[in-house]
Every structure is written in structure tokens, then in C-alpha cells.
Symmetry: C5
Subunit: 83 residues, 5 copies
């Protein structure tokens, strides 16, 4: 899973059926690459999140009929170096 | 899911059975990489779209028997910074 | 799906059972990266093709028991800029 | 599967249901890229591990209902050049 | 599928159940990236091989319960330019 930051939302009136009704967030990787993810946790711009990709993305939004390849899996509170 | 721009269409008379009859669009990533996607939404050249990859691509075109790994999921109207 | 050019064939006498009997083509991406793909369409060296990856690659060769992650989906006749 | 080093843990109070209760480790690739993985083997910071991605990640943690795309598959004791 | 060279073996006493008993090879891509693969064909260090990734990797080792995302699919004898 990847660590990304929420930068905003995407407005798409014309979508395939399996992606209607979902909030789509624009995420930015630490290297600046933009991606689009389904957001089942309610993340806000500026939040750091981790994402699940591939078939895990479909299951992570609670409905495997959702045609996403990237879903926000959780909002990062902080990151513990452990050592 | 990725943000890409439609640049044109692909003409392929010889295809595997699971990809016949589909419009195939050539897409360009922000970094200039070209990809080919199935288009179930009717995007036009110049449109910015987001794409679903992997197994989600098969489901996103409404028929999981379609042998694609990339499908246009929607046409981007605009992109809201949210903040 | 990706756009690649066929550069040759691969000779492998020792293979896993799910890849016996298939023609394996060596493909080169526009950036020069080499990959190996199952070829159900009969592409020739020099042909530009598009490829399906992931689970779509297994289905695209007509037999999901084929253990490939990359299959040629069609031979590109030409590429129409549309605009 | 990839070779990565454990650098710490991730604290996320707000997660999707399929990732509750799991230890999430932050891993660093040899090139410095950070990823997040489910840890079913009990790795410690500093350990070198190998990871399974994609659908294998869901199965590797012993419960395919876990919505992960990256799971630690084992702790590397040492790496034998064989030659 | 990718072309890689076997560089050695990996010793991991602590593994997830779905990867016990398998020989794990360290492979190097032409660009120098290291990966770990299950080896059902008995490759030796120095051999050039091609690999199957994703769900094909699970099937390629003959047991889809194996939690791998990369499996050696065959040993390359030689590579025929065809032209």
C-alpha cells in the first residue's frame, strides 16, 4: 500500500455505472504523481492516507462491484519510527 | 486510477476475440507515456479522463469477458482543489 | 494496454506446464524495455501491437489456464489522431 | 516479490473494515521508496523482508478478506549468492 | 513477462504458510533491480529466465495456494531475432 496526500476532489458527471455515487479524491504521491481514489473513509484535503490498489481496492470500499483500482484504506494519524 | 488525456483512436483489424467491437483510445499520461484503453463512455480527443486498471478494467466496461487491463472510467469535468 | 513492437521470439525448452506450446514473443516498449508475451494473433517481428496484462492476459489467449501476465491483444494497423 | 527493509509502524485510527486489527509496517525499498504492508510474521524495524503484492498479498496474511495489496512474506536471514 | 537473470537464493526461516518449502531465487533485471521469485523449474545462478507476475504467478507454480506474485516461467535457451 502507498502513502499519499489528499489534494482535492474530482468532478465527473459522465462515469461508468460501477463508479457512480462515490467520492473521488485526487491524491499526490511523495514524488508528485497524481492518482484518483475512491474514498470510503471521508478524508479531507491535506490528510495523509494509505491506499490499497488492485483487487484489494474493490473489496476495500465495501462493495467489490465498484470498478476502482485504488481506494483509500485509512487516514494516517502519525507514523512511529519504532526504534 | 490515473488521470490521462485522450489523443486519438487505434485501428486494429486483427484482435483477440475478447476485444472485438470496442473503441480503443490512445491515452497520454501527464508525463507523456502512451497507453491504450477501452472506452465505454464516449470520450473525445482532448478530453481528460480517469482510467481503471487491472481486474477493475474488465468490470468497468460492463462485461468482464472483455480482455482489457485499462478502461476509461469517466470524463473529468473539472478538478476541485477543495481547499 | 501498452503499445509495443515485436522484436523476435524466445526459445525456452524448459517451461512451466501452463506455458507449453505457446509462441513467446519478445516485445520492446517505446522506451526500450523488453518484455515477453504470449502471441495468439500471429504477430511478426517489426509489427506494432498492443498488449493486455494482468488477469486480462490469461483470458486474452483464450485459455485462462495459461500462466501469462502479458498477451498480445491485436496488431496495430494505424493510429488515428482523430483530430 | 520485492526485498524491503522495515522502518517503523503506522498509526491509523480510521481504517476500512478489512484492515482493522492488523499491524501495518512502513517499508523502504533499496531505492528509498516507502510502502505500507500488513505484517503477519512479526518483523522488527531494521529487518530485511520480502513482500507479496497483488492478490497474493490478500492470501499471504491468511485471510483473503484482508484488503491489502502488500504483505510481508518472510524475514530474510541471509542471501546466498549460490555461486 | 519479464526477462531476468538468477543471481542467488534467499534464506528465510520465518515465512508465511503459503510460501514454505519453495525455493526462492533472487533475480536481477537488466536495469539491476532485484526481485524474489518462486522457482518451479530448477534454475541455476547465471541462468536467464522469464517470469510471470500477478495472479499468473500463483498458477505458474502449480498450486494457486502459493502466495507468490512472481514465479519463474521458464529458462531461456536463446533468443531468436526472427529477422
Amino acid at each position: 500500500m502507498e502513502i499519499m496526500q489528499v489534494t482535492g476532489s474530482l468532478v465527473c458527471s459522465q462515469r461508468v455505472p460501477g463508479l457512480e455515487h462515490w467520492n473521488l479524491r485526487v491524491l499526490r504521491s511523495p514524488k508528485g504523481k497524481l492518482s484518483v481514489a475512491v474514498d470510503p473513509v471521508g478524508a479531507s484535503p491535506g490528510n495523509w492516507v494509505f491506499t490499497a490498489s488492485g483487487s484489494a481496492a474493490r473489496f476495500a470500499c465495501g462493495n467489490p462491484e465498484t470498478h476502482t483500482d485504488l481506494t483509500i484504506g485509512g487516514i494516517i494519524d502519525f507514523w512511529e519510527p519504532d526504534g
